[in-house]
């Protein structure tokens, strides 16, 4: 997709190879076959099929929806590339859609840059691309331009995907990490830590059998229905790497407030808790790929909760804590046991403990 292919509106390319090799990134016929037979075939939209060097979007389409453009980018390097509940493709779409959505934006268009390690099976690539398409459809966004590179074996790990996203924010929404205020409440749209636990399981270096599914899911529709009933959301962020704990620490620091969480109110699956107990991990720091942490005035809490529960990705939504004025810049957990402890930022990755 880097090069335009004059006169090739017709999708004539057929990719016959079983694995990707260096020629598929060489700019010649092999690359054209790859782009046409895999990407254009799957993503299938007018902007992409034009095969120009760039997608062209009518400004009026954007201005009709709001007054600000939201633009974001994220790269996906997950290992393994297929896991319970998703794969790197679904992740690459949902992650970027969610980054737009938590800013109050309506996500519209995505780009797709792929760095493929030679030797990746074409069947796996097709599976990933089909999954991107399905996720884009579910979120109501289009993948409108892209780029493909093939690198030597060892220079990348199977496939890396970058997606950039464009969305539009309507004038009413002014969420920011700086806006949390004492008296606000904290909500989450369901079980925390599923993605992190699914990835630990899928890596297979533990002899623990489990069936935990990643929560990888697009949140834009849930967030739009939430914003309809509660346009005055103060803070909103998706809790990805670093988990719910890290997002709340960012809010606490930016807003200069204290978050008090109630451990008994935080939805955590028994399987995820079990895995964390065995490995000495804390679910509050596990990654999520379909969870949004929302901070809003207490008066709006019940309506917001009902709106979130009304969405298929928010059935298990819950109010998990509140905002107080002191101690500032701090997240405190009221433990199930009746004590309190600080939930701090992680220094690095969580590492399993010896014994």
């Amino acid at each position: 997709m880097t090069a335009s292919v004059p006169g090739m509106r017709k999708r004539s390319g057929v990719l016959r190879a079983e694995t990707i090799n260096m020629s598929h990134g060489g700019g010649g016929k092999a690359m054209r076959d790859l782009i046409e037979d895999v990407f254009i075939e799957a993503f299938d939209n007018d902007e992409l099929s034009m095969l120009e060097d760039q997608a062209r979007i009518e400004l009026s389409t954007l201005t009709a929806l709001g007054d600000r453009l939201a633009l974001t980018t994220d790269s996906y390097v997950v290992d393994p590339i297929f896991f319970n509940g998703g794969d790197i493709g679904k992740l690459a779409v949902c992650g970027t859609v969610n980054d737009l959505a938590v800013g109050g934006a309506v996500p519209l268009y995505l780009t797709c840059g792929m760095i493929i390690e030679e030797g990746l099976s074409v069947a796996d690539l097709r599976r990933i691309v089909a999954s991107m398409k399905a996720a884009a459809d579910a979120a109501g966004v289009k993948i409108v331009t892209g780029d493909t590179k093939v690198v030597d074996r060892g220079a990348a790990d199977k496939v890396f995907i970058n997606t950039a996203g464009v969305g539009v924010i309507s004038q009413a929404h002014k969420t920011s990490a700086h806006n949390a205020k004492p008296g606000d409440v904290v909500l989450i749209n369901g079980y925390v830590g599923d993605h992190g636990a699914a990835i630990v399981g899928a890596r297979g270096d533990l002899a623990i059998e489990n069936d935990i599914q990643s929560d990888c899911q697009p949140l834009n529709k849930l967030i739009q229905s939430l914003l309809q009933v509660c346009p005055n959301v103060h803070c909103m962020r998706d809790a990805t790497r670093g988990g719910v704990a890290s997002v709340l620490n960012e809010f606490a620091l930016s807003s200069g407030v204290c978050f008090k969480l109630k451990e008994t109110s935080i939805p955590i699956r028994t399987e995820v808790r079990g895995m964390c107990e065995i490995l000495g991990l804390d679910p509050l720091y596990l990654a999520n790929e379909g969870k949004v942490v929302v901070v809003l005035p207490k008066a709006d809490a019940e309506a917001a909760l009902a709106a979130m529960k009304g969405n298929e990705y928010g059935v298990n939504s819950a109010i998990i804590g509140e905002v107080t004025d002191a101690p500032t810049d701090t997240v405190i957990l009221q433990t199930t046991f009746g004590g309190e402890r600080i939930v701090d930022m992680l220094v690095g990755d969580q590492l399993p403990r010896i014994c």
């Binding site: 270096d205 808790r273 490995l279 433990t335 046991f337 004590g339 399993p352 403990r353 010896i354 014994c355």
Partner: protein, 386 residues
């Protein structure tokens, strides 16, 4: 969750705390200082902080967080030896996850990995053995670390390697022993501990017998304890009860796991493979006699220290570190001169800041500095008023 929630029941916790408060009233305090109880094991320290147990206790009970975190007490020189082994091109160096970040004098294993060493995180020594089977052209070294809890699994792995006829598997042995270390703490000047929460998992292997010297010779109560918050509260209650009744014996709170005689197959495997070292260096505590084990001569071919040259250089702890005093309960973590300034979990100077089980890291992570300072100020004010 079954077998977990039962041991975290807040209602039971409340009644235990009431009982502790009643007992404390009965104690005739000879001096102004609080009762100091040491939990030796890092697993206990972790639970105490994770569930906020300290705040639930009456102020006259102070918990002193002991040296039982094998990652924390590993001296810098040994980490340098690890790095040197890991950087050999033929070596796949395998380690438990939390040993990755321990700083050596130049770098940690995490940094060595980034610089190109083949360092892999494993969850069991058997994972390392599997790697040795899979990579016959490489030497797989397992970083054997921990107290008696992890010794049987390492010993059994060596016996399995022998049975499999493996020649490309070895241990870098840093196992340490509990009893000489407790003894060293009890013998150290300035020690003022009143009782011990003894390590449950170590006791599962070694049994009750090795702890009798604490009550018999040193006249301190000691209770073998499980790792759930109610386990710890119950043990504190048992310890306070002994103190109130002026008794000192070994009690076993963790009877659901710990047998009085320990675990014979585990002890047998340990004694087949390991023997005591005359001394072993600890970060923060210095050298302690007979506090480490090495591999017996019969298993020399599985001993990485004999298979490969290691630098074996002793690196002194930084002078400003007061880990030793924290470990003995002489000062609290936040009273150390470098706590939270030069010494943080990101750039640990001292042993106790290294792993999440270390007392200083636990204070730093679960109870941040401003709050600690406020707490300290409040306590000082109370003392001044009374």
């Amino acid at each position: 969750m079954k077998y977990v929630d039962e041991f975290r029941d807040p209602v039971l916790a409340k009644s235990l705390i009431e009982q502790i408060n009643i007992l404390v009233e009965q104690i005739d305090f000879a001096t102004e200082r609080p009762i100091q109880l040491m939990e030796f094991c890092g697993g206990h320290t972790h639970t105490i902080f994770r569930y906020g147990i300290e705040q639930l206790l009456p102020k006259c009970i102070e918990l002193v967080h002991g040296p039982g975190c094998p990652v924390c007490v590993l001296p810098m020189g040994r980490v340098d030896d690890c790095v040197s082994l890991a950087e050999r091109p033929e070596v796949i160096f395998t380690t438990f996850g939390d040993a990755m970040r321990v700083p050596g004098s130049k770098k940690s294993l995490l940094q060595a990995k980034a610089d190109g060493a083949d360092v892999r995180m494993v969850y069991s020594p058997l994972d390392a053995l599997q790697l040795a089977h899979k990579h016959k052209d490489r030497e797989v070294i397992f970083f054997a670390l921990g107290f008696e809890t992890t010794m049987p699994s390492t010993a059994l792995t060596v016996l399995q390697a022998e049975a499999d006829g493996l020649e490309n598997f070895s241990l870098f042995c840093n196992h340490i022993t509990t009893v000489p270390t407790i003894k060293a703490i009890l013998d150290s000047p300035g020690m003022q501990l009143d009782g011990f929460v003894a390590p449950g998992h170590v006791s599962m292997v070694v049994g009750e017998q090795p702890f009798h010297f604490v009550s018999e010779k040193y006249k301190k109560p000691i209770v073998i304890t499980g790792f759930e918050p109610l386990d710890i509260l119950q043990s504190i209650w048992l310890l306070i009860k002994q103190i109130a009744e002026k008794r000192c014996i070994v009690e076993n709170q963790y009877a659901r796991v710990v047998q009085p005689d320990g675990n014979f197959p585990g002890l047998d495997a340990i004694s087949r493979v390991f023997e005591l070292r005359e001394y072993f260096e600890w970060r923060g505590l210095g050298s302690i006699d007979y506090s480490g084990v090495r591999m017996k001569d019969d298993y020399a071919r599985f001993d990485a220290e004999r298979k490969f040259p290691v630098p074996n250089v002793r690196i002194a702890d930084p002078k400003s570190c007061q880990c030793g005093e924290v470990l003995k309960g002489v000062i609290k973590p936040w009273q150390c001169k470098v706590f939270g300034s030069q010494c943080t979990p990101e750039t640990p100077m001292g042993a106790l800041m290294v792993s999440s089980e270390g007392a200083c890291a636990a204070y730093y992570n679960f109870g941040n500095l401003p709050e600690l300072m406020a707490l300290k100020a409040e306590r000082e004010k109370e003392e001044a008023l009374s």
